[in-house]
Symmetry: C2
Subunit: 417 residues, 2 copies
């Protein structure tokens, strides 16, 4: 029964994708303006739905960060509408010619950017993803099938009404935004089987959710994995700069994926550098854990255990390890890291080059904080997430990564001999 309905839903989204596929930029921007306008006019309805979700969540014992993530208010809705308007200003990647070739037989071959088609988004508590993700998909000419968390079901329903109303207003099929109403995990499982209708699934949420989706999906997945990010302080580092970078990367916003979780430091500067850096971290409220060599220098540091090196804390915790050289730092990062964002602080060009070349992460830094891994900070515009996988999209994933390409071949009757 449900299998049937998710399958049908995915098919209606795929059918609507055909209209989005050829939709001109001007009309897509009109759609985005209509969404922004309706977000304002629908504010009372959305906030009322959100209040019901919040009441149910409190009743179920939800509190703290999770409750905050679920909460919408006028300020957040206004920000959401502003985010939509920002996307209007971004260039439309669809139709861009990325390559042109003229073959000896006279064939003219171009490679052209086209929408992906039908995109499935599976996400958890934050209701802003409903609008942010849908708007990016629509601007890139895609239809979208949304499946949000059960806590936000009423809020998401109200937001989807805004999106579908705007689609109808500009003469596009409302089904270009589909919404899975069932909050059952089984609905997710069914969604993962719709490879005949969905071209890609983008999960946003806990490591556990993403893992489940990667294992179960027959639809291709673009995963936004965790960030176990490192700062390595080399022997020749400017220690004052290193201190600023480590403290910023760890503490400026510890709950996000590009925050640093580990500090590696060259043994030649550990005795000089560590006491100051650790003191600064502690004064910012950071719990410091360390290996034996770190604890030999700052004895009251908590002993790090094996699993510390693999962990994404997303919290005010940092583990410190003293390493022998840049090579040891690179190996540690490639083996224990999550291939997200990793930095070296050094004044030695040779070591910088070696680090940048050998560390196999989405973003590698020299002499800067890992906190810059972000679509806006990189100048790419709004992002749907930060991909830590290597296929298709790596790093901040914006409009371009929501497209594919096709080869357009123009001839005058050429046949193959």
């Amino acid at each position: 029964m449900m299998e049937r309905s998710i399958e049908q839903l995915a098919r209606t989204v795929k059918a609507a994708a055909a209209a989005m596929y050829v939709c001109p930029t001007a009309r897509k921007n009109r759609l985005l303006r209509a969404i922004a306008t309706r977000l304002r006019s629908a504010m009372p309805a959305v906030l009322a739905a959100n209040a019901e979700d919040l009441e149910a969540a409190r009743g179920a014992g939800l509190a703290g960060v999770l409750l905050d993530r679920l909460t919408l208010n006028e300020v957040r809705l206004t920000q959401m509408a502003r985010g939509v308007r920002d996307v209007i200003g971004l260039p439309d990647p669809v139709g861009e010619i990325t390559e042109t070739r003229k073959r000896p037989n006279g064939l003219k071959i171009t490679r052209v950017r086209v929408p992906l088609g039908a995109v499935g988004i599976i996400y958890e508590a934050r209701p802003n993803v409903t609008v942010d993700a849908a708007v990016l998909c629509l601007k890139a000419g895609n239809a979208v099938l949304l499946r949000g968390g059960s806590e936000a079901i009423r809020t998401n329903t109200a937001l989807v009404r805004v999106l579908r109303g705007a689609l109808e207003e500009v003469g596009l099929p409302a089904d270009a935004v589909g919404f899975v109403e069932s909050t059952d995990r089984e609905a997710v499982r069914q969604m993962l089987k719709q490879d005949r209708s969905l071209d890609v699934i983008i999960p946003r949420g806990s490591e556990q959710l993403i893992r489940f989706i990667q294992e179960q999906s027959s639809v291709p997945v673009i995963a936004h994995g965790e960030g176990n990010c490192h700062v390595y302080v080399d022997a020749s580092a400017d220690l004052a700069m290193a201190e600023e970078i480590v403290v910023n990367a760890k503490t400026q916003r510890p709950s996000v994926c590009n925050a640093a979780e580990k500090l590696l430091i060259h043994r030649a500067v550990a005795a000089k550098g560590l006491p100051r850096i650790i003191a600064r971290l502690r004064s910012a409220g950071v719990e410091v854990r360390g290996d034996e060599r770190t604890r030999a220098i700052v004895p009251d540091v908590i002993a790090a255990v094996g699993e510390d090196w693999e962990k994404e804390y997303l919290d005010l915790i940092m583990a410190v390890r003293v390493v022998d050289d840049v090579e040891a730092a690179i190996t540690h990062i490639n083996v224990h890291g999550s291939h997200h964002s990793d930095a070296i602080v050094t004044r030695t060009k040779r070591n910088a080059d070696r680090f940048l070349r050998s560390v196999d992460s989405a973003a590698v830094y020299v002499n800067a904080s890992t906190r810059f891994t972000d679509g806006y900070e990189f100048g790419l515009g709004a992002e749907i997430g930060i991909s830590t996988q290597k296929l298709h999209a790596r790093g901040p994933m914006g409009l371009v990564e929501l497209t594919s390409t096709k080869f357009v071949v123009q001839g005058r009757g050429q046949i193959r001999r």
Copy 2:
């Protein structure tokens, strides 16, 4: 037991990938030269192993095309060695800078091509894939884990010895080419779980094998799907040109994925065009099947049934349908096709543009045969296959598609405010 050994094997390949990741172009080309040379010197050993495989295959009742696919001889081995030398001449995509940005805060951000890492290749009978696929992966800086068909196990073992010998000769780790010796399906299943070691799996083989892999794999998959390709003859088509294109697309090599399987023709030219085209197809040995409107024009055509429209025949069979206009042709192709290669024959620019824009396939053609969808014909060089999926690689998949990118961020102490 096996689970353990495939896991260990994948880990050794991943470890070797680190050496390939930073391997300079000159050394990779030396490796390829060593492979080509050793293919010649190892010819007797490879042919002896192949003879054993062929004997076993005949004993098991294998015959015809399947036996031919399995067969190596001096000519084929020489071609294989020449193919390796061709790849030496292709530009190394690794290290290419694809984007450069300078941010207002002074950060210099470049996007650089890097190897994917460890690539799993799962393939069936043809032993040439062992060398062709491995060589492309190695040139793009990847390590590779190969799993070939059981029929070719002795031949593949001999070819892998050539590859590993060449790696050692140039001072690279032999484990950059790993080989799954077990011919059990369970070994494939285990390989699909090695997402901690393998960055991507590329299956080559039957639709059934690919389907199994897509459903079971937690490693990202790049699928090379089937080709249910179309030629649409528009009302304004040059009918002589249409005839040549249809016959070429269908008959020049019917067993490959870019051969046309379906002919769509505008009703205004069906009565004039179909009798000649069908006669030409038949004289080339093609069995023609048709819808009612086709049979009204050429009565002795076999009636096409529903599933004909979805089928990839890979044989001298073609199904014909009369359509009302270009829009009907586009819809038929998008709904029933496999999104591989589809062509329009027309003299109306408006219809050509509409077709090229709206048909959602890896390659779309105007006035040319679909048979050109191929890495060499497109001027891209050797290919590892033709992808019909939309993520990462679409169309002929060459060296560039065997790479990823990373962001390299260079600062002077920048932190995020």
